[in-house]
């Protein structure tokens, strides 16, 4: 009887099922968590495997130095640079739109705006971030392109400028919310110190808050750049499908992502060189965005001002 009064470990776990769950669940949950690692390994291996096959047929040097990309039409050539230049053109235009506007919005929201204004503007920007990219593609083609063509008579139906501007509009919310987070993290005492010395609001914003939040702002710009590089549907719909090495934003170009879509829409037989180009281009895309994301994380951590 006495032993019953003191609960032992066995009596506490009368329910064997409970005991079992406490053994199984950590393992099951751990497997869920490792799925993310497996995904990364999967991405890297699929890309490397097929890319390797591709480079057995096409010399790597031709791919990385070539300035002509026409893998689907004879005479075939496999120089990646036209696709990279097209991607960069779009990305640079997008960042010229998104970084100043996003940063200015972030400064306005964090330093100037009344609480009520922020309560209205922030959800609107969130909606802007949630609009599917195909919708932006339609927007570029049906509204932005006609405006551009009426301003510049030599602009094509498909042009880099229209797609770039719309990609920029798409990433404004991202730049804005990440920069605003960085600015909100700047301690209030720094602002108060500056105000006490007689600074105006813009002096506090530009000389105190922005420098203090600079690492976060740069990180947001780098992430935006990486996001613009990976953007697919807007450029597929509005930027055209003519890979060329040009800096003229009024011409039709092709980005890496748009090329991948173009090939996958056609009937390219599995195992052919054309099929391999998807993976070679995808690998290039993956490596560039991966490096940029690492850079953004590094900048945010390494150059953070600690208070």
């Amino acid at each position: 009887m006495r032993s019953d009064a003191v609960p032992t470990r066995e009596s506490m776990f009368k329910n064997r099922k409970t005991h079992l769950m406490d053994r199984i669940m950590p393992v099951v949950l751990f497997l869920c968590a490792t799925l993310s690692i497996l995904t990364t390994i999967g991405i890297v291996f699929t890309l490397i495997g097929e890319t390797f096959n591709f480079f057995r047929q096409i010399p790597f040097i031709d791919f990385i130095t070539g300035t002509k990309w026409s893998p689907l039409i004879e005479p075939k050539s496999f120089g990646i640079w036209p696709l990279i230049s097209g991607t960069l053109l779009i990305t640079v235009i997008a960042c010229l739109v998104a970084v100043p506007l996003g940063l200015a919005s972030a400064i306005y929201l964090s330093e100037y705006a009344h609480k009520r204004v922020r309560g209205i503007v922030k959800p609107i920007l969130e909606v802007l971030a949630g609009v599917p990219t195909i919708v932006y593609g339609y927007f570029a083609l049906s509204l932005v392109t006609p405006v551009i063509r009426s301003l510049f008579s030599d602009a094509g139906v498909f042009n880099a400028l229209s797609a770039g501007i719309v990609v920029g509009i798409m990433i404004i919310p991202m730049v804005c919310s990440l920069s605003e987070d960085a600015m909100t993290a700047v301690p209030r005492s720094l602002r108060d110190g500056a105000y006490a010395l007689g600074a105006t609001r813009f002096e506090v914003a530009l000389k105190i808050v922005v420098p203090a939040a600079f690492s976060g702002i740069v990180a947001s710009a780098v992430l935006a750049f990486s996001r613009a590089i990976g953007e697919t549907m807007i450029v597929t719909v509005a930027a055209g499908s003519t890979p060329k090495l040009t800096g003229n934003p009024l011409e039709s170009i092709q980005t890496m992502t748009a090329y991948i879509v173009q090939v996958s829409l056609g009937d390219t037989p599995h195992g052919s060189v054309e099929y391999g180009t998807i993976f070679a281009v995808g690998m290039t895309l993956f490596v560039i965005t991966f490096l940029l994301n690492i850079l953004a994380q590094y900048v945010a951590r390494r150059f953070r001002e600690e208070y």
Binding site: T18, D22, G130, P132, Y138, F139, E203
Partner: protein, 316 residues
Amino acid sequence: MSNVNANLNMKTNVNKSKEEPTVGAKSIFVDANRKQIATRRRIDWLLRLLFLVATSIGVLALMALLIDIVSNGIARVQPELFNNFPSRRASEAGMKSAIVGSLYMLAIMAPLSFLLGVGAAIYLEEYAKKNRLTRIIQLNISTLAGVPSIVYGILGLTLFVRELHLGRSLLSGAFTMTLLVLPIIIVSAQEAIRAVPKARRDASFALGATKWQTVSRSVLPSSISGILTGVILAMSRAIGETAPLVMIGALTFVAFLPNGPMDSFTVMPIQIYNWVSRPQASFQELAAAGIIVLLVTLLIMNFSAILLRNKYNKHI
């Protein structure tokens, strides 16, 4: 603003006492100071205006987008749009197979990504030790969130369509999209779980509950609305995603409803893409009508997420 003005006046006073070598020069210094302050305040006012304009550009862009789409497409939002299959003739074309395809994909993807994502989040927040492996998993998740969606399409094409022989099926699409949204779900679920006060766990342990009992009966119920909010937002991202499904070969012209998970399929954004890429004005109108349907779907999903979030904020 009055606060700032007071500060400015103070500065004027300080400057006065410091920079007055003689009584005669006093008025000159004060005038110079006043002028400087006026200039700075004018700059402040100008920049305020500039920042406001920049902020409103984003808002105006959204307005322009919505007006453009509604004015082009609202006339085509007719019963035929929901009842008809895609057709070569724009007047007869509808998006029935695309709407059903999107719903089917959601039905497979939502429970799958919920279980896997929340499982991973529970592991990372409740079970994981602070070691190297945990750090790697955490870093890996944030890196995966930055991988372009089309790269997931390439993975899906190779892994599900070819290696696992699932073909260009609904299942391949749902699996690919699950991998795509997992990082988003994990991160938001982690935040929701982290927000549960430690006291709740301690209370549960004090009652003699085991770890799993604590997690499943105390932590999860307290964080479930936050978790669901994240899942719904991730699902609305998936509903609008086009590129990865183009990659794995969701068809652009499907004149039947999928019968099982192994059937080929199409989804709303792909049907819209198909219509957008046709030059005829009538198909452009159809695309706008399709976009209206897609946006209304997303609106409903986001609205329910906001309702959940409000409920959640009341709880903790």
